[in-house]
């Protein structure tokens, strides 16, 4: 069928057609990202901000780092469930073929994180510390989690665009700033900065992603 003679385009026409193909593919990727990735990033940012802001004010009622840990877990699981519910209610534009590498990647990351956690035994240090130092140890743990998230931004940015590299580096610097100089407001600081990073990413994808 495709072997029938087709009048060949001129080099200029062929060049224009190739440019048209590139434009169409960029537009397609942009449309999908804008309508599926961007709202999830914005929603995740709001959850992040809300969770840590609540954690900041929950410190007063939690009495100890252990109590704070459980409050934080409740909000984290609530947030993950909320995000899953939000995603399930969105109109699906693309049905993705199951890619085993994605779940395996997460299993490897979290598996190694669990191994490191078990080897480091941070809870054994926590028992021997007084109240203020216990809280500092919890801050240290959260700071490591936040830095790992923004390392993800930097790595992702190497593939999808420099904006995410710079944002990841800026957020890592802000986490370190809050950890070192604002210990009393660390959760609030991390909530506002980290949540803003997610929201900013969503807005960037919606407005400027090409």
């Amino acid at each position: 069928m495709n072997q029938e003679a087709t009048p060949p385009p001129s080099p200029a026409e062929a060049h224009a057609t190739l440019a048209d193909i590139d434009r169409t593919q960029a537009q397609m990727r942009s449309d999908i990202a804008q309508s599926s990735v961007a709202p999830n990033m914005i929603f995740a940012g709001i959850l992040w901000m809300g969770n840590l802001t609540i954690s900041q004010f929950a410190q007063a009622i939690a009495q100890s780092p252990y109590g704070l840990k459980y409050i934080s877990w409740i909000f984290t699981f609530g947030g993950v469930l909320g995000l899953a519910l939000f995603q399930s209610r969105q109109r699906r534009l693309v049905i993705r073929h199951f890619n085993w590498r994605v779940p395996v990647l997460f299993l490897v990351i979290y598996g190694y994180a669990a191994i490191l956690y078990l080897v480091a035994e941070p809870w054994s240090l926590l028992h021997n510390l007084n109240g203020a130092d216990q809280l500092m140890m919890v801050h240290k743990k959260f700071a490591c989690v936040f830095i790992a998230v923004f390392l993800g931004y930097v790595i992702m940015g190497l593939w999808v665009g420099r904006f995410f590299v710079w944002l990841g580096l800026l957020m890592t610097a802000l986490v370190l700033l809050g950890y070192n100089f604002l210990p009393d407001y660390f959760y609030l600081w991390s909530g506002v900065t980290g949540g803003s990073a997610f929201i900013l990413s969503g807005v960037f994808i919606r407005k400027f992603w090409k």
Binding site: M1, N2, Q3, E4, T6, P8, P9, S10, P11, A14, H15, T17, L18, D20, I21, T24, Q25, Q27, M28, R29, D31, I32, S35, R91, R92, L93, V94, I95, R96, H97, N99
Partner: protein, 96 residues
């Protein structure tokens, strides 16, 4: 020597194939999203999709999502190979 494909050579069908090629090999794209991105009416898009499906370049699947009928489209292996050959032929012409 790669050859131009008569079916894909039509501007609308070229854009349809280009859009589907932007996805993963087995990913399916929503009909309305495809029409919206390409600026084609449902009727026009439907006609071009039928031509591509008859040639075996795409697969159309109708399904229900949340009890609403939805149509999804994906490029077949044959369609992907033809498109890549068509693009290669265009690149060859550019070199002339």
């Amino acid at each position: 020597m790669p050859e131009l494909d008569k079916i894909i050579h039509s501007p609308a069908r070229l854009k349809i194939m280009a859009a589907l090629m932007a996805l993963g090999p087995s990913d399916q794209l929503d009909f309305s999203t495809l029409g919206g991105t390409l600026g084609l009416t449902d009727g026009n898009l439907g006609a071009h999709l039928q031509t591509l499906e008859e040639a075996g370049y795409i697969k159309i699947e109708k399904t229900f999502v949340a009890r609403k009928p939805r149509t999804f489209v994906r490029a077949t292996t044959r369609g992907r190979a033809r498109f890549e050959e068509h693009v290669e032929a265009l690149r060859e012409i550019c070199k002339v």
